[in-house]
């Protein structure tokens, strides 16, 4: 059943609680615009391509930065492309990692063609089946406070599907140049020397 929550409001409310220890990886398309609309933060890494790699990128970051909280915010299309990565996340079991899937049940960037979640696929159930213990689906405004508490504070990995409406909204473009986006993120996290290639 399609959702009616508004994606921009959900993401803005979710990211209002972020601090310097919060690192956000956003999937391509609307999720990246939502995250950017909430604030063009140096600690965002927004994908403009690389569909299906958002969760793996977040996992690698979570493994590298155990003291930070890593949030992946992405869409149902991107998530459906990397369902196997959920099994990898469950295996690695990063305690600092949360995945939030904004599920509008369609490919929003390409004309709104229905995805598998418009049919019978249940992403939270798939995540649970992959071995992620803390999963759930959000449909109501009244569940947002609990969503935020879990995403920031619950032992990871946390997986939440948020059922949202299909809306056509203004684009809020993050930096499109990946080299700049990568350096901006690394300098914010690791310091100025990270821009010249030092790990």
């Amino acid at each position: 059943m399609a959702g009616f929550l508004h994606r921009r409001d959900v993401v803005k409310t979710l990211l209002a609680r972020r601090n310097a220890d919060t690192l956000v990886v956003a999937g391509l398309g609307s999720s990246a615009w939502d995250v950017t609309a909430a604030g063009n933060d140096d600690r965002n890494f927004c994908l403009i391509g690389a569909m299906g790699l958002t969760v793996p990128i977040g996992l690698g970051l979570a493994e590298a930065q155990h003291d930070k909280r890593i949030l992946v915010i992405t869409g149902d299309g991107d998530m459906l492309m990397s369902l196997g990565a959920l099994a990898t996340v469950a295996q690695v079991r990063p305690r600092n990692f949360a995945i939030i899937v904004l599920d509008n049940e369609c490919f929003g960037e390409t004309g709104g063609q229905p995805t598998h979640t418009a049919g019978v696929a249940d992403l939270a159930a798939i995540a649970r089946g992959a071995g992620i213990e803390d999963t759930g689906e959000i449909r109501e405004q009244g569940e947002i406070d609990a969503l935020i508490a879990d995403v920031y504070d619950a032992p990871g990995p946390v997986f939440r599907t948020v059922k949202i409406a299909y809306e056509t909204l203004e684009d809020f473009k993050p930096p499109l140049d990946g080299a700049y986006a990568k350096d901006r993120f690394r300098v914010a996290l690791l310091g100025a020397k990270a821009a010249v290639g030092g790990a």
């Binding site: 970051l61 979570a62 690791l190």
Partner: protein
Amino acid sequence: MQEADWPAELFEVLCARGISQICHVPDSGHGRLIKLCEARNDMSVVTLTTEEEGVGLLAGAWLGGKRGALLIQSSGVGNIINALALPAACRMPLLVIVSMRGEWGEGNPWQLPMGLGTPKVLEAMGVTLFRADSADAVVPALDAAAGTAFNTNCSVAVLLSQRLIGAKEF
């Protein structure tokens, strides 16, 4: 003459180059190297469900300040092609170690197409290749590959030839 223990030498190069994140889809050609990495407390070793996950995972590790390497078989190279846009577009380093199949006395006909295509498709995607056909070429190839990847922020693959690893009957 004692036979060279090239997997152990590969492991020493990975350590010397500061690599702390390993991800792989296992292959018998990488078996000993994977075991050596798993024995280290300061290395994270992640088994993937498919090879392209590793390109994303290593990009995330690099964003977080860690160097890594992806260990795959040549058949898995086909799975990472589109993912290679990520390190290319972001000018991130990527180090891939590929154990070759389908080239030297291969016993499995299904391994031939991707084995033959591996160097061509990697080059087509702008990946710099280093090849090791014999045990004494392994260390120089990996060391040069790691230096190139992490000094110039580009994607590099080391192809460990099937002649080195040994042909498989199946």
